[in-house]
Structure formats: C-alpha cells, structure tokens
Symmetry: C2
Subunit: 238 residues, 2 copies
DNA sequence: CATTATAATTTGTATATACAAGTTATGCAA
DNA sequence: TTGCATAACTTGTATATACAAATTATAATG
C-alpha cells in the first residue's frame, strides 16, 4: 500500500469508478499526471500500465489513455479473487455454510500436486454458498496445514483470504485455473439446490504464495444457470 | 517484432518451452541477462515482467526469477487467441465449415454494442468446428464491414485474425469475454453433434482494436463435455 | 475556404543511476 | 563445529534523459 505507483493506481481506479473520468474520455497526459502527483513519468507509467492490464484504460500512442467502458458484462469475475471479495463487490446477500472442516492425511494425489512434504497434513474444507435462498455453489478446499495452521469455523464462514493475508502476513500471488462442465455427484445432490440440473460448472484452482509454494487446491462447483465468468483479455504480441 | 524487450521475451519463452530452463530453476539474474543480451537492466525487466504476466515465471525478491510448472492444466486457453492459433498450439486436427457468410443490416442491438455508425453493415459469419470427426463448436461472428471489407469463404476457413493483422495491418488489442451455460437452440441441434446434451457453454466476446474501436462480436458455443477453459491469474494488490 | 506543411503534444522505447529490501554466501569468533 | 554478523548478490522502486512514433493543433499557402 505504500508503493507510489500502486497508490496512484488505486486513486485513479477510484476516480474512474466514481465517474470523474468517464468512458471514452482520455486521462490527463502522463506529463500532467507527473505534475499532479509530484513524481516522475516512469512512476506514472507504471500506474497506467496497471490500469491497462486490468481493463480500465487503453493507451493510444500520440493520443492518450482512453478510459474504457467497464460494464459490457458487469464485473470481471476472473482473476484471483476470493468469494467474499466478489460478493462484497456485487453487493449480493450471501450465506456461507461450513459442512466439513477436518484434517486429512490421505489425498496423496492432491499433496503431490501441491508439492508438499509426504507427512504434511491438509485441511479439508467444504462450504456451500447460498444466494437468494438457494444453495448454488459448493466449494471444496484442500489447504496445507503446515502453512495455514489454524482455521476455525468462523474464519471459514467469513474470509479465509483475509485471514491468510492480514493475520498470517502471507502473500497470495497467483493461481492456475481450469473451468469444465461435469456430471453431478451425490455430494452435489445433498448440499446444493440443483433444481433439476444434471451437470455443474467446475472451477479447479491451484493457488500459490509469492515464493511459489502452492498452499491451496480448490474445486468450486456451480449450478449452471447461475454461473457467469467475466474476463478481460489482452492479446500477447508474438 | 522489432522491440528489443519483446524479442528477448520471445527468446526466453522458447528456451523455457524447450526445457533449457526447467520448472523450479531460476533464470540467469537480471544482471547476467543484461550482459547476455547486451542491453540495459530495465529492458530485461520489461521482458521478465511479460514472462511473469503470462505465467512463465515468478519473480522473488532476493532470489531470482523462478520458472513455473506450466502443465498443471495443459495449455492456457484464456487470453485473446484465435481458434486457429489454439488448434495449432494443441496440435489437434480441426476442420472448419462455413455455414453462412453474409452482410446484414439489421441486428441493431449488436451494432449499438459495437458502437458503429447507424448505417454500417455487418458481416454475419457462422462456422462449425469439427474435431476427431465430431462437430463440437459453433462460432457465430458479427464483424464490422467498414473495417474489414473483404472476407472470403477461404479466409473464414483459414485464419481470420491472420488476415486482419497481416493483410489489413490492423492491431487486435483486447477483448471483453463472458462465459455462461445456456440451453441449446434449433441452430445448435442442426449444426452440432450434440450427442444428447441439452446445454452448451457459451463464450461471448467483444473484440477491440488498439484504437479502442470494437470490430467483432463473437458467440462461441461449445458442447459441454469437450469444453475446457484454462487460465493463469495474478492477484491484483489492493 | 480547403489543403498542405509544420509544430506541438502524447505515448513508446532504451538507457542510466541510486538506493531499498530480501536472500544467499562468506568469514569470523566462540 | 556452530552460531552470528557481515558482505555479496538479486530483485523492487524512484528518478532522469534522449529519442522515436503517432496524433493533434497550428500556421502557411494556394
């Protein structure tokens, strides 16, 4: 939060969200922003590149930083964001139920994928998410116990990521995700209001800390009619 | 292709893919790379940041650039990549059939979303993709005729993006995407081998040029059992 | 008025330096 | 040998300069 360019990035995001700069307009030039924030042009450019990466602006040479329309598909649900953070952003009323919170010593295939020691214990956490009175999402987590030692029912109901980042001081950095569609299981039938659906959308993710250690594997199972994934993508120049 | 840091980025990607640098190892330090490529440290850092953004490496302060395992879920299908490019990457044998290639003057809602003039014409392009003898994907495109004037059946069968970028010299820059699951339509029934499936995964995208003009709206409809979306995501620091 | 050439503005690239912060290696001392 | 302080190494941030390339504004010209 103290890095100059991150601070500037966040201030500009806020201004865009508040409509101080609206879609189609250009931001003040790098030269002007340099003066406004009393910094160097390169620092401003780092902040602007963050904006561009996250789909807030498009930089056009000779022209300026054009603010992009951000609501073609509501909010971007992609990226690495916890369920709590998403729910807050969407303003949805959400209820989380913890169905299981145990330590497992089996699940060797997951342990192998997470690359943790053979004798390491794993948290097994199963939660359902209820929106507008319907249980729509089933989250199954496997979390390394040696890295995140204390998980209570309360933290599992609230925000796990907040606990990991703020309480434990660990830096969650990146994730590898897969989205597929699969047939429902008995567990889905028991813990979700499937409403007749025979398949679910499954998001599997491995989540990593900044030092490249994987600490979590998540399987998030969504009822198809309530599932939406929104993404902003840039073309990587060959 | 002539930018120094992009050239270095591509060379390093190739070396990682070839296994010259393998997962878990660190790349040569920025200092060493600076010497190897006879350039400045900032230029090297731009190349390394591209690698980090695309999930090839994780930079760890004090340690180095750690090469990441890249095959937890095969290839990354996210981003802004044409079907042809994906198929080439996967080494799949694919057949594209063009079912419709016409100019439409209606579809005002799409025209509005694309933000093009009221009298602008749109290409309407419908293609099915056949993999291993099954028609699995149905692509429905709307493309601005004033920007991409000549589309032939042949270019539609081969690579549209290659034509747009290489022949027309336009720069495809970013896209806004949405993934949902929907019930099948009569058109799906006619043009796909649904194999009993009653729903399809629908990817809707608006695609933009570098000057922020939207030129394409695509609806890509996938048979659920053959659908896979793979993504690499980084956590944006608050 | 319209067209064209020129200048000013704006972003992109490449390079350089200084210091901060985290990790690893080294060497000294007990 | 062990432990600890120190040094060396590596990435992160902030700043500065010079020039290139694209766009826009201005002025000159017919």
């Amino acid at each position: 939060m103290k890095n100059k360019y991150v601070v500037i990035f966040n201030k500009l995001v806020k201004k865009i969200q508040q409509g101080v700069f609206s879609a189609g307009e250009t931001l003040p030039s790098e030269h002007e922003l340099t003066a406004q924030f009393d910094t160097s042009r390169e620092t401003i450019r780092k902040a602007l590149n963050l904006l561009a990466q996250n789909g807030y602006i498009q930089k056009v040479r000779g022209k300026g930083s054009v603010v992009l329309e951000r609501n073609k598909f509501k909010f971007p649900v992609s990226g690495l964001t916890s369920f709590k953070e998403l729910a807050d952003q969407m303003g949805q009323e959400v209820k989380t139920s913890v169905h299981e919170l145990t330590i497992v010593t089996q699940a060797s295939h997951i342990r192998r994928q997470l690359g943790c020691p053979e004798d390491a214990k794993l948290w097994r956490l199963i939660r359902s998410r209820e929106i507008d009175g319907e249980r729509i999402i089933l989250d199954k987590d496997y979390i390394r116990e040696d890295l995140i030692p204390d998980i209570t029912k309360e933290t599992a109901e609230q925000s796990l990521y907040h606990y990991i980042e703020e309480e434990l001081g660990l830096e969650i950095s990146f994730a590898k995700k897969e989205i597929v569609v699969e047939d429902i299981t008995d567990e889905d039938r028991e813990l979700l209001d499937l409403n007749g659906h025979q398949q679910v959308v499954v998001i599997r993710s491995y989540v990593y800390l900044a030092d490249t250690t994987a600490f979590q594997f998540t399987e998030s199972r969504h009822r198809p009619d309530k599932f939406q994934f929104v993404d902003f993508a840039r073309r990587t120049k060959a």
